[in-house]
């Protein structure tokens, strides 16, 4: 119990620091890939601090409430995960958070925000099956949905869940909002939807959105880590190395692709889920 409380508190305090730092690293590496010097690594923190000082304005009475709920439930998602709770509970809470974000964008009735919200929904439709299949994969391999139990596994899940791992990495591009699937909003300035989903968010609300993404990214990388646990210290090392590799891979993908049409996002993710995910599940059935 004490361990759980420590893990949750550590997540609440450390996740934004790690997440913000990773975001800074992302910008630095991206800049180098593009032959620029790039901002300081701590730039994301400066950005958010600046947002907090902006004038408090909003477009209606409810939008910021929904974003707050998004923020809260993203944190709750991560807390469940690091407390070792049920993976499905974790994923369903994340869905709840995402729905709050989408409804926030819809609530403004702003053209850009709404198109962004529709695209965000489409992205959910694209990645959700693979996310659920990933949870089922862990369950079939370790016999439990509980993250705490999965952590105790003495066999590394990765070799048995390799198809699912690849599928999960694929949809991670959508979750990280990276090109080619950064349809609903993007951290690049070159998009046709203004800021997409977040067009009408400003000041503290926008800061909350940024911080929520840091929390979310740390949790998602935690999912990647879960593929490599085997109860030994070197399993942890492989896990952390692989998390960093994955993050680098996503940055590389981001910089190597132009944005694609939404049809590509949904077609490819579903094909990946059906081929890699389902085949992997069937194979697990024979293994267990």
């Amino acid at each position: 119990m004490v361990k759980v409380i420590i893990a949750v508190i550590a997540y609440i305090i450390l996740a934004p620091i790690v997440g913000g730092f990773l975001a800074g690293l992302d910008r630095k590496i991206t800049a180098r890939m593009q032959g620029r010097v790039g901002p300081p690594v701590l730039q994301p923190f400066y950005d958010v601090l600046k947002l907090l000082e902006k004038e408090s304005i909003t477009v209606n009475r409810v939008q910021d409430f929904y974003v707050m709920c998004f923020f809260i439930f993203v944190i709750v998602t991560g807390c469940f995960f690091f407390a070792g709770e049920n993976l499905l509970l974790v994923m369903f809470t994340l869905t709840l958070a995402s729905v709050f974000l989408i409804v926030a964008a819809f609530s403004s009735n702003s053209p850009y925000a709404e198109v962004g919200a529709e695209r965000e929904l489409l992205q959910m439709l694209a990645y959700e099956p693979m996310v659920l299949i990933t949870c089922v994969g862990f369950y079939m391999f370790t016999g439990s949905f509980e993250v705490g139990q999965i952590m105790l596994s003495t066999k590394m899940p990765f070799p048995y869940l390799i198809g699912i791992f690849l599928g999960f990495i694929f949809i991670l591009t959508i979750k990280f909002r990276k090109s080619p699937f950064d349809l609903s909003m993007s951290h690049h300035a070159h998009q046709e939807l203004v800021a997409g989903l977040k067009t009408e968010f400003s000041g503290k609300t926008l800061a909350m959105l940024e911080a929520a993404h840091w929390y979310e990214n740390v949790f998602l990388l935690g999912m990647v880590f879960l593929f490599f646990v085997n109860g030994t210290w070197w399993g942890y090392v492989i896990g952390i190395v692989d998390v960093l590799l994955t993050y680098f891979l996503e940055i590389l993908i981001d910089n190597s692709f132009a944005r694609m049409k939404w049809q590509v996002a949904i077609n490819s993710s579903w094909i990946v889920a059906v081929v890699l995910g389902t085949v992997n599940l069937f194979m697990l059935m024979f293994v267990r």
């Binding site: 409810v62 709770e85 709840l96 609530s107 009735n109 929904l121 439709l125």
Partner: protein
């Protein structure tokens, strides 16, 4: 009062009320009778559960059983005659053909063989029927109360010269409740069949409310056509029921559902009768290839849809399949049921994405959820049945709420199109809030349907049904998609809309509020429902129940989340100290957030529309695929069973 008298009251009282409502034609009398009757029925349903809660139910011997059986037989003949006459009158001959085949078949069987088979306990109560009684009693009665106000508006909206046929409408509603009570408490399959046929006929008349018996110029042709479609499909299912009974009587010398389950539990195969009974369940639960009758049912006044979708009719179908679950599983019958359910769930969820008509979205969502329940029954493990029953409970409450909300919205804003519901929070704030609760209840954690879907998923993995697991992963994603875009539309803030909440009838708001509260309460109370009713029921039917899909720990977490959400909304929703500024519109916002200045200096109104992805999830495409796939599954499995019977 003894239990048996409560049982008789539950079946007899709604019948008497129905007759009274048919005779008394004044509005005032109807208002009072319906309200009093609703209270009495709710009270009696709760009383029945309280009486039997300790013992967990009992089987009844009934002295007059033989006489009752004869009366039922006479009624069946009358029903068949009605069907034949109406079928000929409207020149739709398929329904009479089914009636002419099955009724004489049934009577021949009863007089020749059925007569010699002793039925010890024609009626019973167990924890599953208690749950059903509560659903029918509470949700069903609330719908009748809602109908009082709704039908006044409905009559008001009718063309000049259309006769007021509300007595007939309310007669059917209460008759329906009576038949449903009978259905969930009958152990004698012949009795159950009798109630089954009454519900088929009631829904036929209710769907055809705007068409049947009207003069040529007032007749809504679509209503007549859809009513006959529903009748034909359900009579086809009824034929399956009859064959199931005959097989059971001939080969196993029994007519009792409980005995059939016991025989199955002892290791003898009861696949042959099970497959025909399950087929009947599939038609009634509007599974593909028979889903079109339920979609056609939306031509009827809204209370009809609410009743058919939530507490009656389709729930009779899934009830039968859940009852049969112990003899399903990995056998031909079980595989048929789980495949039909799974395919229906997936394709109906997809089809719902492409719909703008709110009632159609609700209808496809019902078909999809029933598919999941049917699949749970087919899987037939304790875990799956737990999930299936939870789905029945949550779906009944939430779906009735949503239908009644859409019905009211339709009368107030003059449209049932989701695209016309933007800014509903300004126009009908209370209604929008109720609708939001209903939608959240249908797919979001920590609410009911999500809990059951979660349990369903776990039970599918545990029974090694990988295909069903994949189906549920994709189906859930689709479900979240269509509900969220509706939710978004509803939440869109639009300036300058007039608040018309006051035009809504008091009864309607009362029923909405009650159902919305129930939606939340059931979510808070489901661990109790599980431990008090479901687990003992499952232990009785499946032996020990060692694992449940959701641990107690998770159930508590979900309840806390419900409470947190309620509190968040109660304290923070709609409150802000921030300065409210105009939207960004690329062009110059004219100041009202609804129009902007375009490049030619003219004004352009903003119009926002949702995605429907017709090319992916078009209704027609989904139906064609679904009907073909499920027809093949059904024909193949029934063929196998008939083949083996021939060899017996």
């Amino acid at each position: 009062m003894s239990t048996i008298s409560t049982v008789i009251f539950l079946i007899g009282f709604p019948l008497l009320v129905a007759i009274a409502l048919l005779i008394l034609k004044s509005d005032a009398a109807r208002d009072i009778i319906v309200k009093v009757a609703a209270v009495a029925i709710i009270a009696a349903s709760i009383l029945l559960v309280v009486q039997q809660f300790g013992s967990g139910g009992e089987y009844f011997e009934i002295k007059a059983a033989e006489t009752i059986g004869k009366i039922m037989m006479v009624c069946e003949v009358c029903l068949a005659i009605i069907i034949v006459v109406l079928g000929c009158k409207y020149k739709r001959f398929l329904a009479p053909v089914f009636a002419i085949i099955q009724t004489p078949l049934m009577i021949w069987f009863e007089l020749s063989k059925g007569h010699h088979i002793a039925v010890n306990n024609p009626m019973y109560i167990d924890r599953l029927s208690m749950i059903m009684v509560l659903i029918i009693g509470i949700v069903g009665s609330l719908i009748t109360v809602y109908a009082i106000g709704y039908m006044k508006d409905f009559q008001h909206h009718q063309k000049e010269g259309v006769p007021d046929r509300r007595p007939w409408f309310f007669f059917l509603m209460f008759l329906f409740l009576s038949a449903m009570f009978g259905l969930v408490m009958s152990n004698n399959l012949i009795w159950m069949y009798f109630f089954w046929e009454i519900t088929s006929l009631c829904s036929y008349f209710l769907i055809g409310y705007n068409g049947l018996f009207h003069t040529k110029e007032n007749e809504d042709k679509v209503a007549t056509r859809n009513a006959f479609r529903a009748l034909v499909m359900n009579l086809f299912g009824g034929l399956g029921f009859v064959i199931g009974i005959i097989l059971l009587g001939t080969y196993y010398e029994t007519l009792e559902l409980s005995t059939m389950i016991t025989i199955g539990a002892m290791g003898y195969s009861v696949v042959a009768p099970a497959i025909f009974l399950a087929f009947a369940g599939i038609t009634k639960a509007a599974q593909m290839p028979f889903n079109s009758w339920l979609l056609g049912a939306m031509v009827a006044p809204t209370p009809t849809s609410a009743l058919l979708h939530s507490s009656t009719m389709v729930k009779a179908g899934v009830f039968l399949i859940i009852k049969l679950a112990p003899v399903l599983g990995w056998n031909v019958a079980g595989i048929m049921v789980m495949m039909v359910g799974g395919v229906t769930f997936l394709l109906a969820s997809f089809a719902a994405i492409s719909q703008t008509n709110a009632k159609k979205v609700l209808a496809y969502s019902t078909v999809a959820n029933l598919g999941l329940i049917v699949a749970c029954g087919g899987v037939g493990t304790a875990e799956a049945v737990w999930a299936g029953i939870m789905l029945i409970i949550f779906h009944a409450v939430t779906k009735s709420l949503l239908f009644l909300c859409v019905g009211t919205a339709e009368h107030q804003i003059g449209s049932r199109d989701i695209e016309d519901m933007d800014g509903l929070f300004e126009r009908l704030p209370k209604l929008a809030a109720f609708m939001l609760i209903g939608i959240a209840g249908m797919f979001l954690a920590p609410f009911g349907m999500l809990i059951s879907k979660w349990a369903t998923m776990v039970s599918f993995v545990d029974s090694n049904n990988i295909l069903l697991v994949v189906i549920i992963c994709f189906g859930s994603a689709a479900t979240a998609f269509y509900w969220t875009k509706w939710m978004g539309k509803l939440s869109a803030t639009m300036a300058g809309r007039e608040n018309i909440q006051k035009n809504v009838h008091g009864e309607e708001t009362f029923v909405h509020a009650t159902l919305a509260t129930l939606t939340v309460i059931v979510c808070l109370g489901f661990p109790f429902i599980s431990s008090a009713l479901l687990v003992p029921y499952l232990e009785g039917n499946f032996g020990s129940v060692d694992t449940l899909a959701l641990s107690a720990n998770n159930m508590v977490i979900l309840c806390i989340m419900v409470a947190v959400l309620v509190l968040l909304f109660a304290f923070f929703f709609g409150k802000t100290n921030k300065k409210i500024v105009p939207l960004y519109m690329a062009g110059y916002n004219m100041g009202d957030d609804l129009t902007f200045m375009n490049a030619m200096k003219g004004e352009t109104a903003v119009s926002l529309r949702n995605w429907y992805m017709e090319s992916y999830f078009g209704e027609f495409k989904m139906n064609v695929i679904g009907v073909i796939a499920t027809s093949i599954i059904i024909v193949a499995t029934v063929g196998i069973v008939i083949g083996t019977l021939g060899g017996m």
